[in-house]
Amino acid sequence: MHIPDNFLSTPVWAALDAVSISAVGLMVKRASRELEETRVPLLGVMGAFVFAAQMINFPVGAGTSGHLVGGALLACTLGPAPAVLVMTTIIAIQAIVFQDGGVLALGANVFNMAVAGVLVGYWPFQLWGASRRRTAIFMGGFLSVMASGSLALAELLISGVAMPQAWVFTSLGLFAVNAIIEGAITISVIQALEKVNPGFVQQAKRSSGRALAALSGAGVLLGITGFLLASSAPDGIQRLGQRLGISTKPGFDTPLANYTLGHFESAWLRRAAAGLAGLLLIYAICTAGARMIGRRRSA
């Protein structure tokens, strides 16, 4: 699901570009700290592998077939930070060379598929990789595709692209089917890989960075559900706020109240602002949480 240019509204793509640039920058730092020089060509060639893997069809039934998306597989084999970089490069090459996805929307696509897709895909493996390995890998593939798809859908909705309710739920259903297929492909490929060379697959350590993993996973899932709730039922957040006894309206109104952009109406602007504020908040919490945990562990 590559979003082309001009589908997202300006605040949405601009904010996601900013988020993706900082997230990928962070991953570059982490990866260059962990990575030996010899692994750089490896990452590039593995990117080519993910591209090529799309040619191999997996029979799914009813005459259709699916193919590997790859976020969770890369995370389980190369490690999360290098996997984010490989996926980022793949999405950038697809946007620039193959015109699959927009250039301004690159930040959004990178966030959906490379950052969220890989980190959420790695989360179950990190949590339960040691004890419930098969389930964890399957869940990784499932969550990876599900997160990417619903984030893309949520961003389109926040941008005000009209979609009937039925269409939204149909898309979510299709994402779920694709996500199950991705989970099945990921687990069967990893099992086959372990037969070739067990060293290919990362060793899941017990309780390593468990809090960080939980925090990032929960943050992204919270974000997805929040966005879908906020967008498919326009007053969802406000109703929730009223039920909780807080009037949320002024909070969303004031920061961007005088901000009028072209032909857009203030109703969706408020929604977009709310969504973006949520996204930035989640990102800030995740980064701050990661920093704190990192400091405590090194201390």
Partner: protein, 236 residues
């Protein structure tokens, strides 16, 4: 194949090919941002943008029909969403989705059609893109076709072995997983071999180029002129 054709286009020798990749990237970004913030019914702005694009294609000597046809790959997606917007009564957005996403795609195609990817990437590197990502993209693009061909061989071999035997879905699925695992392992070992060979040829962490990038006065003039033009067109 699509990318091979665009690769051929990028080897041309026109004034647009000769411009520094950084100048072209900056102009593309200004073009895309101007387009993205333009209202769908601002006919004058959109006409000027489209005219600039066509002028660029003609100056670059690229086949206009071929490029504009290739940019149509975006249409199934944008027309579907356009149709939904139309049915929802948001006609302005429907037209905007179709025409603006088409113009954006054609503009990106014009950039890659006039700039070889290695030069584009080294331009991006000097514009602040992390070196690790640039290296990764270079390796990825170099070995994309090699690994893809290997995948096709695997697929062909699997089809030959299978013949007319009717296997059930489960075993087919497992066979495909096995093929992917083999492809993974071969790519992995190939990467190790590549790295050894590159070290033996004195690879020191970056690709050397025969003609390094130079941002000339003409490049500055080109960027400034187009930036002013695009912003003036955007203003009304």
């Amino acid at each position: 194949m699509h990318h091979v054709l665009v690769d051929q286009w990028s080897q041309g020798a026109s004034p647009l090919h000769a411009r520094d990749p950084r100048a072209k990237v900056m102009v593309l970004l200004i073009f895309l941002v101007a387009l993205a913030t333009t209202a769908p019914d601002a006919a004058v702005t959109l006409t000027i943008d489209a005219a600039l694009l066509v002028a660029g294609i003609l100056i670059a000597g690229l086949p206009p029909g071929g490029l504009l046809l290739r940019a149509m790959a975006i249409l199934p997606f944008s027309l579907t969403f356009g149709l939904i917007s139309w049915l929802a009564g948001d006609r302005l957005r429907a037209i905007g989705l179709a025409e603006k996403s088409y113009l954006s795609t054609a503009a990106v195609l014009l950039l890659v059609g006039t700039t070889p990817l290695p030069r584009l990437l080294s331009g991006l590197e000097s514009m602040g893109c992390p070196r690790l990502l640039v290296l990764l993209a270079q390796f990825l693009y170099r070995y994309l076709f090699v690994i893809s061909e290997q995948a096709q061989h695997l697929r062909l071999a699997a089809a030959c072995r299978e013949g007319r035997a009717r296997k059930n879905r489960r075993s087919k699925f497992r066979a495909a997983a096995g093929a992917l695992a083999v492809l993974f392992a071969r790519s992995y070992y190939r990467a190790e071999g590549i790295h050894q060979a590159m070290l033996a040829r004195a690879f020191a962490g970056r690709f050397a180029t025969l003609n390094p990038l130079r941002f000339r006065a003409t490049d500055g003039l080109f960027t400034a002129a187009l930036a002013v033009l695009l912003i003036l067109a955007r203003l009304p």
